[in-house]
């Protein structure tokens, strides 16, 4: 499945707006440094991303995530992968 270019970034922006992050969010925005998300807020971001995109981020996916662009890449990889982690129902990847 192909994903429209701004679909994921817009989704992430939406999540961050919901989290009351007021900064401008671009692909090169640094999650810790620019957004100042502490560990608790990062858990929240990860959970919201998983719920919205119906993906399950594996710990090794999260390994290199420093910027919003990195996060976007990981989500795109999951959405593009054919199979169980597509646009299925809630928490299809939870098993």
């Amino acid at each position: 499945m192909t994903v429209p270019p701004s679909f994921i970034l817009d989704g992430i922006r939406d999540i961050l707006r919901g989290m009351e992050v007021e900064q401008q969010v671009e692909l090169d925005t640094h999650v810790a440094r620019d957004l100042g998300l502490d560990s608790i807020r990062r858990i929240e971001l990860a959970m919201e991303v998983e719920n919205r995109f119906r993906v399950r981020l594996e710990p090794e996916d999260e390994e290199g995530i420093e910027t919003i662009g990195n996060l976007e890449d990981v989500i795109r990889r999951h959405l593009s992968a054919t199979g169980e982690c597509g646009s299925g129902g809630p928490d299809v990847c939870d098993a």
Binding site: E20, D34, L37, D38, R42, I65
Partner: protein, 606 residues
């Protein structure tokens, strides 16, 4: 029952029909009776034994909240091995630091094997490889398969004086240390907790205790206070993964409501987090009237958090008396004092000057500092205040501030790492072996009030952090005087929880006009290098921070002066040199508060 062990607790619970309910992110729950958990643990234990784990071997456990954790923990216990739960990987965080920390913890406790699941194994693999536990890494699934079919009679009946588990605490330096507690100590603490709770609410046919917790299972309050206390009772326990609570705090209160919980606890921050973050729609239909004891521990208790929580959830049937401040530490297994769960937490108003300058607790009618009682020692636990050296005795009617010392049957047995610099488990004193908690406080009418701490640990949202990594994050910030930084935990406003405050001296010869930019850079550097967000950064004149004779920064003294408004540069005395101040990303808390829909938090004590 003097020869009780953790294995026997599970065996006895297995006959009760009670068990543990695990809530998933859809808020559906799966129930496992203690009998089933015993059966699974026996198989896992057999697997561990077959792998080569022997009695007294340390078994590191890195698992999220779930039945696997019980399998691994009690599997180890049933063969007389010693479980050492460690924290699972952080989310969107610094995995490199996580791995280094985990490798250090594995080496520190001398883990013989690491038990985890497939998901965690893929990240912890390298940490494990670095620490080289002799038996490597095993998943719970592997161990159950290795253990074969159900079997009984595996219990090696360890000596109650033998080590029961290893828990980690930051001790007095902030560096996590493996704390060894015996079966006897754990059982003593569980009995003390239950005695206090049951004395207040006698067990009768009318009332069935049930507990709910979202606390991580590698944390003493989650493991001892929830998992083991519920099992000892035995009572049904509902467990929520901590990250689910963080993302959706309403889950916690809904579980209490749904499963008619009588006991549930959390660190102070969770109470304000819920008050601020749970929407009016979510509150509708919540029934918190069964909640008799809402324990508040693991970080300094604030009046602000408790008042907001009580106001916000009073309409859901929450009894204001339910809020129960407690105090404990991993070196005492867990619990040391409980306030009275039947009445509102006691508060005193004390003269600020007397507290800060004379070290005495002098009640005052108005304008004083409000301190909250964390209650009386649990049965069997002894507590005394050792006045700081140099402080003079106070006349009658006033209590002297001092170090909080603890003693009793639930004290730990020793640290598992053999660090010659480490403090001993229980330094002998005139009245027996007393452990210096590093906290300072005083006793008033037999109740303990905490006021600061002598140690440098940062306590933020119930977690303890060492100050050094934060201070070192500023090493590369040009314009900050290298090494002249103190990271301290203090409330930004009275009655609120502690936030990270960084005090940094400006490099010599640098103009004060750049201070604001410097502070902003410092905020970013800390965020980038640690998992922490600064509540405030203050740029100070060179030489402002108090130092020891050998030139080391005295954090506790810096903290005291900061809170008293006495941080002054050395030469000119001009009050606080608070020129550049960046509250920076610390605004997150203020923002969160706004997120709550519905009535504003009127009368907020801050």
């Amino acid at each position: 029952m003097p020869d009780e062990t953790l294995g026997r607790l599970l065996e006895r619970a297995a006959g009760s029909g009670k068990g543990v309910r695990f809530v998933d992110r859809n808020e559906t729950a799966r129930f496992y009776g203690y009998a089933e958990l015993l059966d699974r643990a026996r198989r896992t234990g057999a697997g561990l034994a077959r792998l080569g784990v022997r009695p007294a071997d340390r078994v590191a456990i890195i698992l999220p909240t779930g039945p696997d954790f019980y399998d691994a923990f009690f599997g180890a216990v049933l063969i007389g091995a010693v479980p050492a739960p460690l924290y699972p990987p952080v989310r969107l965080g610094r995995l490199r630091e996580y791995r280094a920390q985990t490798a250090a913890l594995l080496r520190g406790c001398g883990a013989r094997v690491v038990v985890t699941d497939g998901r965690v194994a893929r990240v912890t693999g390298r940490a494990v490889a670095e620490a080289e536990p002799p038996l490597g890494l095993a998943t719970v699934g592997d161990l159950r398969a290795l253990g074969g079919g159900p079997r009984g009679g595996l219990i090696g009946v360890p000596d109650p004086r033998a080590a029961a588990l290893i828990q980690h605490s930051s001790g007095t330096t902030g560096r996590p240390r493996p704390i060894r507690v015996t079966h006897r100590a754990v059982i003593a603490n569980l009995n003390a907790i239950r005695a206090r709770l049951l004395a207040v609410f006698p067990d009768d046919a009318e009332r069935e205790h049930a507990a709910v917790s979202w606390l991580p299972l590698y944390h003493d309050m989650g493991l001892i206070g929830c998992v083991l206390t519920a099992m000892a009772h035995p009572a049904d326990l509902t467990l929520i993964p901590p990250e689910l609570f963080v993302a959706r705090p309403g889950v916690w209160l809904r579980a209490i409501s749904r499963y008619r919980a009588t006991v549930s606890g959390a660190p102070n921050f969770a109470y304000s987090y819920c008050a601020d973050r749970i929407s009016d729609e979510e509150i509708e239909g919540l029934d918190l009237s069964t909640w008799l004891v809402a324990l508040n521990g693991a970080e300094p208790v604030t009046a602000g958090a408790m008042d907001r929580f009580a106001r916000r959830f009073g309409p859901c049937g929450l009894r204001p008396e339910a809020l129960t401040p407690v105090y404990g530490l991993a070196e005492a297994t867990l619990a040391v004092t409980f306030s009275d769960p039947e009445s509102r937490p006691r508060q005193v108003s004390l003269d600020r000057d007397a507290l800060a300058r004379e070290g005495v607790a002098r009640p005052t009618a108005s304008g004083g500092a409000t301190l909250i009682s964390v209650g009386r020692p649990l049965p069997g636990i002894r507590l005394r205040i050792a006045p700081e050296t140099g402080s003079r005795g106070a006349p009658g009617g006033e209590e002297v501030l001092g170090r909080v010392l603890v003693s009793g049957p639930s004290m730990f047995d020793g640290y598992d790492d053999d660090d010659p610099l480490g403090e001993g488990p229980a330094p002998p004193g005139p009245d027996g072996p007393w452990f210096d908690t590093g906290d300072t406080g005083f006793l008033l009418d037999g109740e303990l009030y905490l006021y600061g701490r002598a140690r440098d640990v940062l306590v933020l949202r119930g977690c303890k952090y060492a100050p050094h990594p934060v201070e070192e994050a500023l090493d590369d910030v040009e314009g900050v005087r290298t090494g002249c930084v103190a990271a301290i935990g203090v409330p930004l406003h009275e009655g609120e929880e502690e936030r990270l405050v960084v005090l940094a001296e400006r490099a010599r010869g640098r103009p004060p006009r750049d201070d604001a930019a410097l502070a902003a850079q410092a905020v970013r550097a800390v965020a980038e290098r640690t998992d922490l967000v600064c509540g405030r950064v203050l740029i100070l004149e060179p030489g402002t921070l108090p130092r020891t004779s050998s030139g080391k920064i005295r954090r506790a003294e810096a903290r005291r002066r900061y809170t008293q408004g006495q941080l002054s540069p050395p030469a000119r005395r001009q009050g606080m040199a608070l020129i550049g101040e960046a509250v920076g990303s610390g605004l997150a808390v203020a923002r969160m508060r706004r997120r709550r829909r519905g009535p504003a938090t009127q009368g907020d004590s801050s």
